[in-house]
């Protein structure tokens, strides 16, 4: 229960920051995507099933609260959370830069996937060149933000981990 609340807090905070502070931040046509960042970091710390669940909930929340086409972000983030959590188990480097690299590549891959799904549904109104550029820039911006936000999310995740009994 505590876990659920603290994760929800992370996601809601990410959404709020995304829609207010970072909505105005736009360089080269892209913004950082904090819900992607939060999902990736949670998956990185907690593993594939928690990552998938956090991604699904965060994605649905983003889709409904920001009134985007429903379900696409949820699908993207479910898969991103699962993949990051699953791949994480095979990486053993202790480098402190690892989260930064993971966030950058997973964000970019997630945006491209989102764009492809939107395209298949006929809802992508921009060209592929633009999509790739947005994916690249979002990856870079998220990577830049990671060193600041990773420790915060890790603290939230770790403080709630004591009550493992209530794990879903």
């Amino acid at each position: 229960m505590r876990r659920a609340i603290s994760w929800a807090a992370v996601v809601v905070t990410a959404l709020l920051l995304q829609s207010t502070v970072f909505a105005r931040f736009e360089l080269g046509g892209a913004k950082p995507d904090l819900v992607f960042l939060a999902t990736i970091v949670l998956a990185f710390l907690e593993g594939p099933s928690s990552g998938a669940l956090a991604g699904f909930v965060g994605g649905m929340a983003e889709d409904f609260l920001l009134n985007q086409p429903k379900g696409i972000t949820a699908l993207t983030l479910t898969l991103v959370g699962y993949s990051v959590g699953a791949l994480r188990q095979y990486i053993t480097t202790p480098s402190p830069l690892l989260p930064v690299g993971v966030v950058a590549s997973a964000s970019a891959a997630g945006i491209v996937f989102y764009g492809l799904v939107s395209f298949l549904l006929g809802q992508l109104e921009v060209g592929f060149g633009y999509l790739v550029r947005v994916a690249f820039l979002t990856g870079v911006y998220n990577a830049v933000l990671t060193p600041f936000l990773f420790p915060v999310i890790r603290r939230v995740a770790e403080s709630s981990r004591a009550t493992r009994v209530f794990r879903w």
Binding site: T20, L27, A52, V117
Partner: protein, 300 residues
């Protein structure tokens, strides 16, 4: 064994979440603009995110201004001054609108015309910008309680901004004319040639379907055409001709139009209510929305 079972339950979880997402996508997609998910989502967005945005943007304004400032550093001070001046001018323009409208109504009555272009407006401030990289819209702090309805045109002192997309009681979203979903029936001010201006996101909007014989002058004004029953009132400044080109194999001419409004610095906008009355025939009447210096021109 336990490990195996755990991996399997993870897979089961992921598969069911993916299924749930796909079902949501399908339901939303089949429901279209008026589906249950869409209306639920827009209600949620406007009642939850709108007020929060406004509250947080008040607190975080310095922070967000700092980030925003990174993009256009150096021009902030002059921009601020310009926006203040704009705001002032907008207020006077609204006051002038009333007078001009009254004049217009009297003249029309005199000539036994039955309609008048009653331009009434609601001033709103922009509290949030589009959150997606693929949508160009803004959130404003006025909604149905102030008379804002979906589809109403939105302008600033500089020109046409877009139209209201979704409305809740105190918040609405405005689709900008640079959004790829937006198209504006517009007209070259001097020759009167009509065309359709379509947004292209970050790229300059393009005015299509212009007759190939049309003479196009650089920096010429482009105004809304305002057909009967259309969304936008006639004669509102949209932008300026940037350049023209013919698409290969196309029978019509395309014109790049530089919007008159700077969409990166929107702060106050005017929602035009009262266009519910049928718009009169698109005579090239001078619009009160046009810039001050053009205003007096075709009046006499």
């Amino acid at each position: 064994m336990a490990l195996y079972r755990r991996a399997r339950s993870t897979r089961l979880l992921v598969v069911s979440l993916v299924m749930a997402s796909l079902i949501t996508i399908t339901v939303d997609f089949r429901g279209g603009q008026h589906g249950p998910l869409e209306s639920f989502g827009s209600k949620l967005e406007l009642t939850v995110i709108g007020p929060l945005q406004s509250a947080v943007s008040k607190v975080f304004h310095p922070v967000s201004a700092f980030f925003g400032g990174l993009a256009h550093i150096g021009s902030l001070d002059s921009e601020n001054r310009r926006l203040r001046a704009d705001n002032q001018r907008l207020r006077t323009l609204v006051a002038e609108n009333v007078t001009i409208n009254r004049e217009l109504a009297r003249l029309r009555k005199l000539f036994d015309l039955q309609q008048s272009l009653g331009l009434k407006g609601v001033t709103a401030s922009v509290v949030g910008e589009s959150l997606s990289n693929f949508e160009w819209s803004v959130t404003i702090d006025k909604g149905s309680s102030s008379g804002v309805r979906s589809g109403l045109p939105v302008v600033t002192g500089e020109g046409l901004v877009g139209r209201v997309e979704q409305v809740s009681s105190n918040w609405s979203t405005v689709m900008l004319i640079i959004d790829p979903r937006s198209s504006v029936a517009s007209r070259l001010a001097s020759s009167g040639e009509a065309g359709l201006m379509v947004g292209r996101g970050r790229n300059t909007p393009v005015m299509d379907l212009v007759s190939p014989d049309a003479t196009v002058v650089a920096n010429e004004e482009v105004v809304t055409a305002g057909y009967r029953g259309g969304v936008y009132p006639p004669g509102v400044l949209v932008g300026f001709v940037s350049s023209e080109y013919a698409r290969p194999g196309s029978l019509t001419k395309s014109i790049l139009v530089r919007p008159a409004v700077d969409f990166s610095s929107l702060e106050f906008v005017e929602v035009i209510t009262g266009t519910k009355k049928p718009v009169p025939a698109p005579t090239p009447s001078p619009s009160p929305i046009r810039r001050g210096k053009h205003k007096g021109k075709g009046k006499g």
